[in-house]
């Protein structure tokens, strides 16, 4: 039995011991413990070092708001997690934990020198100290700060765990499974509505788990909880524990992070560690309760100083006394009950020190009955103890003056500065807050979402009013769902009502400038820092926050925001509501990257589209590249070949005999209907009326701004039917653009669009022997009427096909489209037929080289959204006689017809070197800096066919600069390059006519 554990007490399983390690030492614990409760049961309060001063720290809370007790946890290789809150992490078999921010060990830490240099490390320290000299920043200041900073250690290995995601739709989501949430669920469950009740803790019950002495409906609290949860289950309410509502977004969209395995000794195979729920609820009830505030006084961060409510939780939920003789320091009634519970459990309460001079008579009676010394109207002005509190210094307050101090020995100090409603989720919705002067706190005010706020979350205290409020919230939600349910009343006995007062720093008789009175424990922000920030000119609470970092730690100021505001407001001599609260943002508690990523990692990181021929390419050892959402074969290296060699071989083979290429990713759109040709005339720059069925034409698509959007070869299959192809990346965009015009500008046209990209697998054959390979496989085609730029329906290798005769290489070329299920069969048939001609499969890189040798553009590579047809040298593709087409009017805009536009040209380097794509171009390399850049290289390749590299570029006024030399700065020096035509290979086009 651990020293501070009470046999049989609490909700832990005393029959199920579990051991775990902390900083290498093994400790006993119980099933149901958190790391913090188990360490406390063993008398260990020192759990970590603080971030900035490396001060020794212990758990100050018993929940997810914990700022101090951050630990590293691990479960084998790759499963190390830093900054886990010891107050949340449940014990499991074999759990290994370690403290953070300490070196060489937790009890003796070198970095604690920062603590002695406290006077130097005040607010804005970094901003002031490291300003000068500027040259010191990179080499001195930043490395120093980086080595000193950081919260825990980052894991170094990939996370081997799985993470999951799920959408959930419900009528009512209740956040918070305490008294108010359960009461709301109990009434709503009977309305027939779908109800989800979530809580971040392992158990539902909230504060009732820490108040077993309360009686509800004649039953002890825990019995009532069991009965209530059974009733909820019977009504089909979905109860979710270990599930944190991390963010509350528009229209009742709430993100929940469910922790599934961190508490399990041995998780089931393939079980996800966490699951992100994306919940859409018609109604939301926020019943998140309230968070206890610390008191701000010198030494309030010493291990052993913790919130009174936390001590009560450790006692009643975990059966752990946090000390043998704890003192209680409070400005709120609630801490008195913690003292009574601990006294009843065998601790000797050193004193109850209350800042108030007037105390409720029943509390005084109860203290007197237990023989507890009570110090009314007292302040605390310091604590002592190296790694654990040993005493607290208290002083009487009389008429605004602080009397003489005296030490009270204690081994724990339970503090309470009152309670602040948990407003985080409500604030995510941009709901407004109202200052409540009575309780000195903000309460939820105007709502923006269909939600109710119930219980301590809106400032109520005591179980009777909280339960009644939960009922009211549940009924309101049910009514908003247009359902009905009966009201309920929950009789409460032994209730624990309470009220209190609020403070800035506690009054002291010592120099406040020397006090280490912490407001934000995690970021080591003191009251002095906040006042300094105001003195130095910060007026907005947002500036005070950023200057001091108050509330900017991973706990997002759950404990510090209100205290920080009170102190800043006092320093500014303003009322707190005039100063206002900083913004709470999601997530409510730190959330793993894995939970956000969900399934979208590794193989499923991103949608990857594959063609029907992809399996063949993979089997051949193709190297792939991503193109839009597709993965495409980039090149097909033979053993020993690098990319350069493979591409050179593929290019030469295609030009020498025949190459085969998977073009299935090309976008395809079927344009059908009586007005198809009219539609094509309006969309594309080219004229379509006279294109005969059975012929095809290069089509150019502009935006209304006159810039090139897409291109592709378009075949007219019948008077009313076009087979449009688009670029691989443009397919969805082009269809969207066409649908837009059709639906919203020209709804009168009788024409319809169908995406057939995936209906067809497309295989391109190019080269002087392409015809010889293809011809024997084709049936049902009149070859005498099938010149270059033709299309026909026929069969290829016995498969129904749409056959195009076209070329993107300058060689005789064909594109064979067959129903996608036959794509691989077609490919195989063509490979077989091509064997006598040494047919060569080639990938996208060779395709790029071959087209660049011919000066064919790639939209998106040689164009960038600011290139007109004229700029690209594509004037010939414009149907000048057409009255209108998309983008036509823009081609006469002043900016478009003005001289000096960047125009597409060819570039050949004088030294035969290859330019980098994206390289900038200047006319005069000797001009003063900054030089005027006149364009950039858009495409650049080694051309095996030509024996030297080629490039395309956009250059200002390029079409009028043929033959001129420009200069291209490259890593190995400035290259001279001559402007040429973009057609490098077979400029006469003779090879197409072969």
């Amino acid at each position: 039995m651990s020293r501070y554990r009470i046999a049989g007490r609490g909700r832990v399983d005393h029959g199920a011991p579990i051991s775990f390690t902390f900083d290498g030492k093994t400790y006993p614990g119980l099933r149901g413990d958190t790391v913090a409760s188990a360490l406390l049961a063993n008398g260990v309060h020192l759990m970590g070092r603080s971030f900035k001063y490396h001060r020794p720290r212990g758990a100050v809370t018993a929940g997810s708001e914990e700022p101090n007790a951050l630990i590293g946890t691990s479960r084998g290789p790759g499963r190390f997690e830093p900054n886990t809150r010891a107050t949340v992490q449940e014990l499991r078999k074999g759990l290994v934990t370690e403290s953070q921010n300490k070196w060489p060990r937790l009890s003796f830490d070198i970095g604690a020198i920062n603590d002695r240099a406290y006077m130097l490390f005040s607010a804005g320290f970094y901003y002031k100290t490291f300003m000068w000299p500027k040259s010191f920043w990179d080499k001195v200041y930043e490395p120093f700060i980086r080595s000193a900073a950081g919260l825990g250690k980052s894991p170094t290995e990939a996370d081997p765990d799985r993470y999951a995601a799920r959408y959930l739709h419900t009528d009512l989501l209740i956040v918070g499974g305490g008294a108010a949430g359960i009461a709301a669920a109990l009434v709503a469950a009977k309305s027939g509505a779908r109800v989800v009740l979530v809580d971040e803790n392992p158990e539902l019950g909230g504060a009732l788990l820490s108040d077993p002495g309360v009686t509800v409906e004649g039953q002890p609290a825990w019995a009532w909880l069991d009965a209530s949860l059974a009733e909820l289950r019977a009504h089909g309410v979905r109860l979710m524990t270990r599930t944190t509502a991390i963010g509350y977004y528009h229209q009742n969209f709430v993100g929940l992070c469910e922790r599934l395995t961190d508490h399990l000794d041995t998780p089931p195979a393939n079980a996800p560690r966490e699951r992100m729920w994306r919940v859409r609820a018609d109604q939301v009830v926020l019943a998140q309760g309230a968070l206890e505030k610390p008191l701000v006084f010198d030494g309030n961060d010493r291990p052993g100083v913790m919130l009174a409510g936390a001590a009560q939780t450790y006692l009643n939920r975990y059966g752990v006394r946090v000390g043998d003789n704890p003192a209680v320091l409070t400005s709120h009634d609630s801490a008195w009950y913690a003292a009574f519970d601990l006294a009843d459990a065998g601790s000797r309460i050193a004193a109850i020190i209350d800042t108030r001079s007037e105390i409720r008579a029943d509390l005084l009676d109860a203290a007197r009955q237990r023989g507890i010394r009570v110090l009314q109207g007292h302040t605390a002005t310091g604590t002592k103890g190296r790694l654990r509190i040993a005493s607290v210094r208290v002083n009487p307050l009389r008429g605004g003056t602080v009397g003489a101090g005296r030490e009270i020995a204690c081994d724990a100090l339970l503090m309470s500065g009152g309670w602040t409603p948990s407003l985080h989720l409500f604030s995510h919705t941009k709901g407004s807050l109202a200052w409540d002067a009575d309780s000195n706190t903000f309460l939820p005010d105007r709502k923006t979402e269909a939600c109710q706020i119930a219980g301590a979350g809106r400032g109520l205290w005591g179980y009777a009013p909280v339960l009644a409020d939960g009922v009211a919230a549940g009924l309101a939600a049910v009514a908003a769902l247009s359902r009905s349910a009966g009201a309920r009343q929950f009789a409460v006995a032994n209730d624990r009502p309470g009220s209190g007062v609020s403070h800035t720093e506690l009054p002291t008789d010592r120099s406040p400038g020397k006090a280490k009175a912490f407001v934000d424990f995690q970021n080591d922000v003191t009251a002095k820092d906040l006042r300094l920030a105001v003195r130095e000119g910060m007026r907005s609470i947002e500036h005070v926050k950023r200057y001091t970092t108050n509330g900017m730690a991973t706990d997002q100021g759950k404990m510090s925001n209100i205290n920080g505001l009170m102190i800043a407001a006092d320093a500014l001599a303003k009322a707190p509501p005039q100063v206002g609260l900083t913004t709470f943002r999601p997530p409510y508690t730190p959330t793993s990257f894995g939970a956000f990523a969900g399934y979208l990692r590794g193989q499923t990181f991103q949608l990857t589209r594959k063609t029907p021929i992809d399996p063949w390419a993979e089997a051949q050892g193709a190297v792939f590249e991503p193109v839009a959402q597709w993965r495409r074969a980039w090149y097909f290296p033979k053993p020993g070949e690098d990319m350069h060699a493979a591409v050179a071989r593929e290019c030469l083979a295609t030009r020498a005999s025949v190459g085969i290429f998977d073009a299935s990713t090309l976008g395809k759109i079927e344009v059908a209907g009586p007005d198809a040709v009219e539609f094509m005339n309006r969309m594309y720059t080219n004229p379509w009326t006279k294109l005969a069925p059975g012929r095809c034409r290069y089509g150019l698509l502009l935006g209304e701004d006159g810039f090139i959007r897409d291109d592709g070869v378009i075949g007219r299959l019948a008077n009313d039917l076009f087979h449009v192809t688009t670029t691989t990346g443009g397919a969805a965009r082009v269809l969207n653009m066409m649908e837009d015009y059709l639906q919203t500008e020209w709804p009168d046209l009788n024409v319809w669009l169908t995406s057939t990209t995936e209906q067809w697998a497309t295989v391109a054959l190019n080269g002087p022997n392409a015809l010889a390979v293809l011809k024997p496989l084709v049936e049902g085609l009149d070859w005498d009427d099938f010149p270059h730029m033709s299309v026909a329906e026929c069969t290829v290798a016995g498969l129904p096909a749409r056959l195009f005769r076209l070329s993107f290489t300058g060689e005789v070329g064909f594109e064979v489209n067959v129903p996608a299920r036959h794509g691989l069969a077609l490919w195989t048939a063509l490979m077989d037929a091509g064997k006598p001609h040494d047919i060569c499969p080639y990938g996208t890189e060779t395709m790029h080289v071959l087209r660049a040798e011919k000066g064919y553009i790639i939209v998106g590579q040689d164009t960038d959204g600011t290139v007109t047809p004229q700029d690209a040298g594509l004037d010939w593709a414009i149907g000048k006689a057409k009255p209108d087409f998309v983008g036509k009017r823009s081609l006469s805009r002043p900016d478009i017809v003005a001289g000096g536009r960047k125009q597409l040209v060819g570039l050949l380097t004088e030294d035969g070197s290859r330019l980098e794509e994206g390289a900038q171009i200047v006319l005069d390399p000797n001009q003063p800096l900054p030089m005027k850049m006149v364009g950039h290289v858009t495409s650049s390749y080694d051309s095996a066919s030509l024996g030297h590299p080629i490039a395309m570029a956009v250059i200002e006024g390029g079409h009028d600069r043929m033959g001129e030399v420009v200069h291209v700065p490259m890593p190995d020096g400035v290259k001279r390059a001559r402007i040429t035509s973009t057609v490098f290979y077979d400029p006469s086009g003779d090879r197409l006519k072969a």
Partner: protein, 175 residues
């Protein structure tokens, strides 16, 4: 080609169905009835409604768009072509564009909820919808309380199947 994997098939079955003819019909409302007669199939007007007759099925996907399933396409295209002059339309064969999965079993709604932001549980039996699963457009047909078909564009299928495999393993783990 029916593929069936894993041994917990009672909770979840994912099968790839053999291809059948699939066509996209686009026609203006005033010609809908004519097309319906020609195709021998009522064409419902409410988006998401379905009809079936003689092994043919129609699902209304948009105000002028129907997805037609049939054992074979040519009879339908011929019948439609015959009335094209008086009832202009587009009837495009897309049999190979999508691959259809049959999804069934007690966990099927959980499976769909891993990727579909829409409330699929609210989709009535006998109805259908075009929606999104993760980042892939899919068409979902609800055939029974725990029986669905999902048409997935062919190239998106590996991604969708990979995601479903993760979800299957997760559902089998039981957490």
């Amino acid at each position: 080609m029916t593929t069936q994997k894993h041994d917990f098939s009672a909770a979840l079955q994912i099968e790839e169905l053999a291809p059948s003819a699939r066509l996209s019909l686009r026609v203006r409302p005033q010609h809908r009835a004519q097309l319906a007669r020609a195709l021998g199939l009522d064409l419902p007007v409410r988006i998401g409604d379905r009809t079936a007759a003689d092994g043919r099925e129609a699902l209304c996907l948009g105000p002028d768009e129907w997805l037609i399933l049939a054992p074979e396409a040519s009879a339908l295209t011929a019948a439609a072509a015959a009335i094209y002059a008086t009832a202009p339309h587009s009837l495009t064969e897309i049999s190979d564009r999508e691959i259809t999965l049959r999804l069934s079993g007690a966990s099927v709604l959980d499976l769909l909820a891993t990727g579909c932001p829409r409330d699929i549980a609210a989709l009535a039996e006998g109805r259908g919808c075009r929606t999104v699963f993760d980042s892939a457009t899919v068409t979902i047909w609800r055939d029974g309380p725990t029986a669905f078909r999902m048409d997935v564009w062919r190239s998106f299928l590996p991604h969708v199947r990979n995601l479903m495999a993760l979800a299957e393993a997760e559902l089998a783990a039981g957490l």
